[in-house]
Symmetry: C2
């Protein structure tokens, strides 16, 4: 291991130049004009993986290709197999005028590298590649077999990952999947994300009159669908932030003492959070801290409202319809289908007969939870501590990462979410950046991780 | 009078040709490219008024000109003076593809004349001009002095009518203003509109976080402004349609027995209204009929809702803000300032401290009421009955006509609202039409009206 760490230390300047090369590809998966950039980026990755001593190939899909790179397998030893998942596609860069420097011309300022894709996700998956390079170039025996799966469609929903996983199920059978595509609160708090929230999405539209009506001529004699919608949505929550839908919290597991302690260690004070979000005060379900409310508790959020006239000034109408887009976050123990059922039952029951409700169901995803006391999780925590020299925390994140469920479903494997992003990295936003300390410590963490996982 | 009525009867074909000429001007006041059309239309009107024996002139304003036409005044007799108000500007024609024939090429089908501006308002004010022509061309003494005020900005808010009225206050001093710019339920129910609702308009915006937040990362820990708005709006009304704002109904005069009887005579059944509006059922304030709810009772209407994401699919955000556009209709006895005060007080009191509310006040207008037993109203009712051979009804309309308040304020004169439109005339919509029976009966009504008003 000494050689590995020495190699990493000695080659940071070159690694950075290589990362710049990787970042220069405008691999925006959402925009068709960037298809050649994605192909070139994937080709570059394959060549790069080969150069550092792996076997690598492109797997074509109906969308952008997937890069599959394998560490050299030994004929006689049976080493545990792990997948490292990442993605080489990036978010669109618009609005361009908010960028201080061009998004695909990496710029270094202090310890920060500014470029689209730097933190999400090229910098993070490149850290793992560099750790593997260090093993291979120093002829240090890797205690595990690794397969990198670097896809090009994460930012557009990973539509072809499922069929890829199914088709290559045998090759990809593994003990766990390592994913560095989340974040840590700061460099003093390295973290293993052990839970994600699930989600259900839907929209409801209340239809009233056949067309917008003159509010002078007809107002007062017919239901106003916007008012009906407001009154319907108001039945969902009480003054204090508790959701009143019967059965909404069903299945949500109570927090263990360990989890409450872990959540209390999250180093973001309420005052800081309030300032960061720009709200007059924090607000949410009684009995939980802000950290818990946004990570381990189910929520009901209105994402959008649309009805009637939205332009300048006044238009005196009773709108023909009113719509709300809604997503609910779910937590481990809750099933999307079951929660969707109780939510829609409540809305139907409380919808007045003066309007007709249409419901359009959107996507759903299960919540995710790995037991933090599992051997792989414990191995990950040790690797984090060795790299960051700080006691790592257990994070439960409020968002949903659907690919984690895909790995569980297709391969039966849990994911180790070892994010290297920082809260101010501007993922998906202008001036995205990646911290060089995260990059370097990430490489070291990865190098230790294979030791720890290989020893299980 | 015999000669007058004979003249009207004998000249209908020519009148129709002249009306076609009038309708061919694309006098769309809202669209700058039609400025020449408005000028040509106004010039044509001046020439036409002169041709039928009136003195006429254009009065320039900072917008489109106003046509002022006067019947010949007598030196020695002192006859009562009345203003006939109308407008020569029309609504835009878009969407053009919904028109069966070009909007400025009048088309006759049965007893209907299809053209933009036919019912609103060229056909209606032309009927009055033709009645005056009949008096002047038959040398029948007109029992009153008349001044026609035909403006070119009614469809864009009559911005320059006020200063015109003030500047020409002496010339325009009159006993009453005759306005044919409303409607009747059908030809069997000629009507005098004796009341209009007032209005207050405003919009409220609730601001939450400084920007849209990721609902996974932060949902649950902050107020959702769209939910806060829904809950706030829900405090305004009960299940049955009653507005719960303290003081909201203050000042609203109770209906007299006469008014309830008149409203019951309105020949539109609930079943017909329900079908016409395409609602699942009628709905409104308990204790009132649908006709009363939409004409004589105050209302609180949400005209539009805007918040967060409104596009296709899902965007998982807690929106930064949510907005509602609102208008309240007021009834005679209610003051816009007072009702605005109680409404805003209620909203402020019920707005949670988790969001910041901004209120933008829009326009306000008083309700309007002429006593139906006044001598001028009784004269109008007699003229209606003589022309339509049906007992006229008293209408209270739910809409607001701001110019009526301007006449009251500037000239101290009440308006006699003697509409000639039918409910299916498509005013402001594609395929606007005017009924030839309304046109002819309107001329006869106007001819009788000057007799009845002159005899007061």
């Amino acid at each position: 291991m000494k050689e590995v760490l020495k190699y990493l230390k000695a080659n940071q300047d070159r690694f950075l130049e290589e990362l710049y090369e990787y970042l220069r590809f405008a691999s925006v998966s959402a925009q068709p004009q960037h298809k050649p950039d994605l192909e070139q980026c994937a080709g570059w990755l394959v060549r790069h993986c080969k150069k550092i001593g792996m076997t690598a190939r492109l797997v074509a899909t109906n969308g952008h290709p997937i890069v599959v790179a394998r560490t050299p397998r030994s004929e006689h030893s049976r080493r545990p197999h792990f997948i490292v998942y990442g993605h080489y596609d990036v978010q669109p860069v618009e609005p361009l005028d908010l960028w201080i420097s061009p998004p695909f011309e990496p710029r270094k300022k202090g310890r920060q590298i500014f470029a689209r894709g730097s933190t999400d996700n090229k910098g993070q998956n490149f850290a793992h590649l560099k750790a593997v390079e260090a093993y291979l170039k120093t002829n240090t025996p890797l205690p595990c077999d690794l397969t990198f799966v670097l896809e090009g469609e994460e930012e557009v929903g990973s539509a072809h990952l499922d069929s890829f996983l199914k088709k290559h199920r045998r090759e990809l059978a593994c003990r766990a999947v390592v994913v560095s595509d989340t974040g840590i609160p700061d460099l003093d708090h390295p973290a293993l994300t052990c839970a994600l929230r699930g989600i259900i999405a839907f929209e409801i539209t209340l239809f009233g009159p056949a067309r917008d009506l003159h509010s002078g001529g007809f107002g007062g004699a017919v239901e106003n669908p916007a008012m009906a919608l407001a009154r319907l949505l108001a039945t969902v929550r009480d003054d204090h932030g508790k959701i009143l839908i019967p059965g909404f919290y069903d299945g949500a597991q109570a927090l263990t003492r360990l989890e409450r302690r872990q959540s209390a260690r999250y180093p973001l004070s309420d005052a800081h959070l309030k300032k960061m979000l720009g709200v007059t005060r924090l607000f949410g379900e009684p009995g939980y801290t802000a950290t818990e409310r946004r990570s381990v508790r189910p929520t009901f959020e209105i994402n959008g409202l649309t009805s009637g006239y939205q332009g300048e000034g006044t238009k005196t109408i009773v709108p023909a319809w009113a719509r709300a887009k809604i997503t609910c976050r779910l937590v481990p123990g809750q099933k999307p289908d079951q929660i969707r059922k109780v939510v829609l039952r409540h809305l139907k029951k409380n919808c007045p007969d003066t309007v007709r409700m249409e419901i359009e169901a959107g996507h759903g995803a299960d919540a995710y939870l790995v037991q933090p006391d599992s051997p792989t999780a414990q191995a990950a925590l040790r690797a984090l501590e060795m790299a960051f020299h700080r006691k790592p925390i257990l994070l439960r994140e409020g968002g949903s990462i659907p690919i984690v469920n895909q790995f569980k479903k297709c391969l039966g494997a849990d994911s180790l979410l070892l994010g290297l992003g920082l809260p101010d990295d501007n993922a998906h936003s202008p001036n995205e950046k990646f911290d060089l300390d995260c990059f370097e410590k990430g490489q070291v963490m990865s190098a230790h991780l294979w030791q720890e996982l290989g020893a299980l």
